[in-house]
């Protein structure tokens, strides 16, 4: 990660995010931090509405998003963020894009299916209870009337509400795979047809109640699953929205305007102030400065650039403002090559088969064979028994079909369909509260298998920020700090931080790539690289980042820096080891720097100077050995390795490309949530297995009963809801167990 703390990176200019809405108003969407109660809503909304020209201000507390609309030209976007700042809320403009809308549509659709299934289930139950309780007393005419009414509700309702299952089953069948939705769809269609046939013949058993209730239960699972994934996705997008890069475009007349990175064209001239991220690949036209390229290379020390040098998207300008010319658009910048690598990596992952699908592959043929055998058995059994000398009459095709369908209904994977999603919903929900975003249930299953963790150094194991090594002369430190306080260079900042607050040298001049010079109390002082401040000194062998300080003619003083580890790095490595997981460190940084970090964190197995391709090779080699590597990294140089690892994680500060290649994203400064993620993933796998075993047991008991013809609609309804509740309760155990290591 970058040397510069997020707060110090230039905030995106809100001007670039203003959009015109359908009513002709200008609209700005902002992410607001810290709002959590009625008073906050009122304070924010009423203060903004009080600004002249503001037409609408609405805060969504669930998503922390504020939408402000005003008449074009009436308000400066800056005034809005400033007003929020004064109220005490940090607000960042962001581009909502169209992704959000699509996802919402899916959630709303699921809610509609769920409502229809619920309505049908409740109404039909109203007609089914009299049938069950009036057994023997209710006339055949009344019963058939109630069946008909049920049919009129159940047929359209279940055909509508089962659409998610039909679509998913159809998609699976087209690629010749069977998932859980295949037996669900088949059961829905067959149950409806057989129940209608039964109703027409004024029969006793119709399963309209069972099938609508089944759909209701399954849709609850689907909706919960969707909502949690949506929550994780939104949170991940918010993290990215916070690091969206805007740029200051300079036109021919020298006017500067704010633009979004994706609107930059090749040849545009862009002004990069100190602290600004480089939005696209380009060439420096004017000015010299230092760039933090740690996201691209893993190298912790900044690079010096001058006119004519190439710079790449993802780097951060540290010291002096420069003018650059764009040589590529965002989608063609360094990232494009990378996304090809990511795609190739993800394909190698596609061979992973989910637990539920593995169960389905076993379950579908067994159940369907059993149903077919039941049908044939009831149809042909009596005939065979007669041949053997028994005196038995035929039962007819209708009874045979009824019993076969009963098998399909009772084994319909209500519990099985809920078994895995219920566990994953609870697990991802729990991790979400701990700041770990899990992108999919699939990711959770892969995480549970992990036996090797490959860590990146800069920004992953470390904070990506240098810290002064102790044991320096205090007076030299104070004296050097007066110069250091004038600079944004990461080493200067580390030095100033170590010295605490104090005076600032006036008239200091910063020379990019060299250092700072100033005259303090009539003495010429220099702080910077060895060649600049202390040309007579020899190179230090330890490979640490260094600054030299020369105060007049006195002997130069050397300050050494190391990149500080995350506070819980060593604890995390130990915890991983205790779980039987091997840990490796692989970094693009200088071997000497990597060795220091590896020693401090307690990692024995490390390598430095690794190119992005080397990381991919290492991951591929581990996979070839039959291991399941988890790659943890944040930079562009990690993205390809993240994509081809068995599972992958990145911190919330990681670049967009890395986050999108990762299965899980960890927010905050701690590494320990990674261990909890693995723990929860393993526990989730155990719960999912138990649920599948329970479902198997349930089917072992229920299926023979159904095949033998003992099943009634009442028993089917009880068995289905009972088994669904058991698996859901078992999944909820994840919520409470294994929390001992925290707090």
């Amino acid at each position: 990660m970058a040397f510069v703390e997020p707060i110090e990176v230039a905030r995106p200019d809100p001007d670039a995010f203003v959009r015109r809405d359908a009513t002709g108003n200008d609209v700005l969407e902002l992410l607001v931090k810290g709002a959590k109660c009625a008073a906050c809503i009122k304070k924010i909304e009423s203060n903004l509405l009080a600004m002249s020209g503001v037409a609408d201000a609405r805060l969504n507390l669930s998503t922390a998003r504020l939408s402000v609309a005003w008449k074009p030209g009436a308000v400066q976007p800056h005034a809005i963020t400033d007003a929020l700042q004064r109220l005490g809320y940090a607000a960042t403009a962001f581009d909502p894009g169209d992704v959000k809308r699509q996802a919402d549509d899916e959630g709303r659709k699921l809610l509609r299916y769920l409502a229809v299934a619920g309505f049908a289930a409740m109404n039909i139950m109203m007609f089914s209870v009299p049938i069950w309780s009036g057994q023997g007393e209710m006339g055949e005419g009344t019963r058939t009337l109630l069946h008909w009414v049920s049919a009129l509700i159940a047929i359209p309702a279940s055909l509508y509400a089962a659409q998610p299952f039909f679509q998913s089953a159809w998609r699976a069948l087209r690629i010749r795979r069977a998932n859980m939705d295949v037996p669900i769809s088949l059961a829905v269609l067959l149950t409806i047809s057989v129940s209608v046939a039964e109703t027409i013949q004024q029969g006793e058993h119709a399963y309209f109640d069972g099938i609508t209730m089944l759909l209701f239960f399954l849709l609850i699972g689907r909706y919960l699953d969707h909502r949690l994934r949506e929550q994780a996705r939104t949170a991940a997008r918010d993290l990215l929205a916070l690091q969206v890069v805007t740029a200051s475009r300079v036109d021919k007349n020298g006017n500067v305007s704010a633009v979004l990175a994706r609107d930059i064209e090749v040849g545009d001239r862009l002004q990069l102030s100190a602290g600004a991220g480089v939005p696209v690949d380009g060439v420096i036209v004017d000015g010299a400065s230092e760039f933090d390229c740690s996201m691209l290379t893993g190298e912790t020390l900044p690079q010096t650039v001058k006119p004519g040098d190439r710079i790449f998207a993802g780097a951060i300008n540290l010291t002096q403002p420069v003018l650059m010319r764009a040589t590529a658009r965002t989608q063609d910048s360094t990232l494009a090559e990378l996304s090809r690598l990511i795609e190739a990596g993800e394909q190698s992952r596609a061979t992973f088969v989910r637990l539920a699908d593995r169960a389905a592959a076993l379950y579908v043929p067994v159940v369907h064979t059993l149903a077919a055998l039941t049908f044939l058995g009831w149809l042909l059994g009596p005939m065979l028994l007669r041949l053997a000398g028994f005196d038995i009459a035929d039962v007819g095709a209708r009874i045979a079909l009824m019993n076969a369908v009963a098998v399909l209904i009772i084994t319909c994977p209500c519990a099985l369909g809920l078994a895995v999603p219920a566990v994953q919903v609870v697990a991802t929900g729990r991790l979400f509260k701990r700041g770990v975003l899990v992108k999919s249930g699939n990711a959770l299953e892969r995480l549970a298998q992990v036996d090797t963790v490959v860590l990146d150094k800069t920004g992953t194991l470390t904070l990506g920020r240098p810290r002064l090594v102790g044991g320096v002369d205090a007076s030299a430190l104070q004296s050097a700090a007066t110069l250091a306080r004038t600079s944004r260079h990461p080493l200067s900042r580390a030095l100033a931080e170590a010295a605490g607050s104090g005076p600032v040298a006036s008239g200091a001049i910063e020379r990019p790539g060299e250092g700072i010079e100033a005259v303090v109390d009539g003495v010429a002082c220099r702080l910077g690289r060895r060649a600049f401040a202390a040309p007579l000194e020899t190179d230090a062998p330890d490979g640490e980042a260094e600054l030299w300080y020369a105060h007049g003619d006195a002997a130069p003083v050397r300050f050494a820096f190391v990149d500080s580890l995350r506070a819980d790095a060593a604890q995390t490595i130990q915890a991983l080891g205790a779980r039987g997981i091997t840990v490796e460190l692989i970094s693009g940084d200088r071997p000497a720097a990597v060795a220091v970090a590896a020693r401090a964190a307690g990692i024995g197995d490390w390598s430095g100077g690794a190119a992005p391709g080397d990381k991919v090779d290492r991951i591929t080699a581990l996979r070839a050995q039959g291991r399941y590597p988890l790659m943890v990294g944040d930079g562009l140089n990690d993205a390809a390795a993240l994509a081809c690892a068995h599972a992958s994680a990145s911190p919330g500060t990681a670049l967009e490309a890395s986050q999108s290649a990762s299965d899980i994203v960890i927010q905050g400064a701690a590494l320990m949530p990674l261990v909890e993620a693995i723990d929860v993933a393993r526990a989730a796998k155990a719960r999912a297995r138990e649920n599948l075993q329970f479902s198997a047991l349930y089917n072992l008991i229920a299926a023979p009963l159904a095949a033998a013809g003992f099943l009634t609609p009442l028993i089917a309804a009880l068995a289905m809801s009972g088994s669904s509740m058991v698996v859901t309760l078992n999944a909820l155990r994840l919520q409470i167990e294994g929390r001992s290591w925290t707090s």
Partner: protein, 46 residues
């Protein structure tokens, strides 16, 4: 049992009204901000 001729349509009708109400609330965006809704009732509009 003639009463069923009234009771069944009445029951289905009431259910349908509930369903229509849910659809309306869904379309009106009442599920967009479940967190904010519970706080907004506390805000006084003068």
């Amino acid at each position: 049992m003639d009463i069923m001729i009234f009771l069944i349509p009445a029951a289905v009708f009431m259910g349908a009204v509930g369903l229509a109400g849910f659809f309306w609330s869904l379309r009106a965006g009442q599920y967009e901000d479940l967190e904010g809704a519970k706080h907004r009732i506390l805000i006084d509009d003068e």
